[in-house]
């Protein structure tokens, strides 16, 4: 269904652009963008690789710090009081304003982009993981304790698997926004990457190249999302079959 709607919209775009003979530098027809992607595939691939590296590194940093912070917040009251409000406050600072500063502070290379990606995507991971760890049924914890389980065993057997569905929700949101982070990082100062390519192409009226970059970026984001969703499906079989059972009303 979404593909059908998309095809219709693209077709309409093509038709209107041709009917009104809109100049290509203003709005190229989809067919021209298609040509651009094929013609500049080597260029796009080279810059996409750079952006992918930034996203992957930033995402990894976000995952590690996000999970670490969530654990600290969930199990250490001082951290919950001290860190959690700061984590939330950090999201009210516009990243686009800090990005140029990061450039000044850490340099012109990969690092400021990785930091921007991490800053923008660690937040949904922390918030969801904290919710997941807090949602664990205390009676389940007591049941394990009465069986003689140590704190570590309770953590591994109840808290970790119980919070995984929440963690994956957070990671999926993070995956979607991490690409945006990379582009912001590249806009404020870079010598490679799809964001850089767009900034270079736009003032030269290479509008179809801008669109081509956007498409590749979007594909990158979708691919990352699907990757996470696939990992979720593999590791949370019980969760999906439970959701199905609920949807079919097998267990009212």
């Amino acid at each position: 269904m979404p593909l059908l709607l998309l095809a219709a919209l693209v077709g309409l775009w093509e038709l209107l652009v041709r009917a009104f003979q809109t100049p290509r530098w203003l709005l190229p027809p989809p067919s021209a963008i298609g040509h651009e992607i094929v013609a500049s595939s080597a260029l796009l691939a080279r810059h996409a690789l750079v952006t992918t590296e930034e996203v992957a590194a930033g995402f990894a940093v976000a995952l590690a710090t996000g999970v670490g912070l969530a654990l600290a917040i969930a199990y250490w009251r001082v951290a919950a009081r001290a860190i959690y409000p700061l984590v939330i406050a950090s999201q009210t600072i516009p990243i686009i304003a800090i990005a140029p500063l990061l450039l000044v502070w850490v340099g012109y290379d990969l690092r400021p982009k990785v930091i921007v990606v991490a800053l923008i995507s660690f937040f949904p991971i922390v918030v969801n993981m904290v919710d997941g760890l807090r949602a664990v049924d205390p009676e389940m914890v007591n049941m394990l304790r009465s069986l003689g389980a140590s704190r570590w065993q309770v953590f591994r057997k109840v808290q970790v698997p119980g919070s995984l569905p929440y963690l994956f929700s957070g990671i999926k949101i993070a995956a979607a926004v991490s690409v945006i982070g990379a582009v912001i990082g590249e806009w404020v100062g870079a010598s490679a990457g799809l964001g850089y390519l767009m900034v270079q192409a736009a003032p030269r009226f290479q509008t179809s190249l801008v669109f081509a970059s956007v498409l590749v970026l979007s594909a990158l984001g979708i691919a990352l999302f699907l990757l996470v969703a696939g990992a979720e499906r593999l590791s949370l079989r019980w969760h999906h079959s439970a959701k199905r059972a609920k949807a079919l009303d097998l267990n009212p």
């Binding site: 007591n142 009465s146 995984l164």
Partner: protein, 270 residues
């Protein structure tokens, strides 16, 4: 039947700090459970029956009084009871991400029993617990009665000298409940378990246990101790005898008096 005691509570009292002063839940609970005996606790709702089990399991400590788990020369005083008794809480508390088998072996796993041995021991009992063919199902695919039997299997497999059951059939419909009671009687006849069971069903208490302790309204004291004169093995038919009915009526009288004293509707769940 004068076998050695496995559990001894002496003048156990429990109070919680609450908004205005303290909430006294248990005032004076003393009881003895001997090897091979089932003891039922019955009382008005909200009287603290579950608190007794939480204390015996080691999840909570009494404010005063003593708890002793005895037997095999061991004597585990306060604070060392966690992991020494098998506790089956009111809710089945099955881990939704584990299959029937995975849930059943939880206690063995915590004790460090190897996965293969643990699985073999669980599989050997699946049939007895009416779960054969369901080993690899997730809990959400099971009926309430089956989930309860999985929780039971997990409790029995933990292999402890004392079993604590908190309203084991409370969440089930009447028919499933009767079925489970009959099943439990069979199981008991086979393995001869020692345990404490909390229930609010007088018939269930009489049918399944050697002793019935009737607790007062909160703060709970032991109001009456009844030795059930029925022979073993028990069967559901015994509930129809005149003797049984008279006993049930006398316990209900005590309970009703206490229920009137108990806090009105908003009383928390036991």
């Amino acid at each position: 039947m004068a076998s050695e005691p496995v559990l001894q509570l002496t003048a156990v009292a429990k109070a919680y700090a609450s908004g205005q002063g303290e909430l006294r839940v248990l005032q004076d609970v003393s009881l003895v459970v001997r090897r091979g005996e089932m003891v039922s606790l019955i009382g008005p709702s909200g009287c603290g029956k579950s608190t007794v089990l939480n204390i015996v399991a080691g999840l909570e400590e009494p404010t005063s009084g003593s708890v002793a788990l005895l037997g095999d020369g061991a004597n585990f005083r306060d604070g060392r009871r966690l992991g020494r008794v098998a506790y089956m809480p009111q809710k089945d508390l099955l881990l939704p991400w584990r299959t029937v088998l995975g849930n059943a072996v939880l206690g063995l796993e915590v004790q460090g029993v190897g996965p293969r041995l643990a699985r073999e021991r669980a599989e050997a009992l699946l049939d007895t617990f009416g779960l054969s063919g369901f080993a690899r199902e997730y809990p959400h695919n099971l009926s309430g009665g089956m989930r309860q039997r999985v929780a039971f299997l997990r409790t029995i497999l933990a292999d402890k000298p004392l079993v604590l059951l908190d309203e084991p059939f409370g969440a089930l419909d009447a028919l499933t409940r009767a079925e489970m009671q009959a099943w439990l009687l069979d199981l008991w006849a086979g393995v001869g378990r020692t345990g404490v069971m909390v229930t609010h069903d007088v018939e269930e208490a009489l049918l399944l246990s050697h002793w019935v302790y009737v607790l007062s309204a909160r703060p709970a004291r032991v109001q009456q101790v009844v030795q059930v004169p029925l022979p073993w093995p028990r069967s559901r038919r015994m509930a129809a005898t005149a003797e049984f009915t008279a006993l049930k009526a006398s316990i209900l009288d005590v309970l009703w008096d206490q229920q009137r004293l108990a806090a009105p509707p908003e009383a928390p769940h036991t």
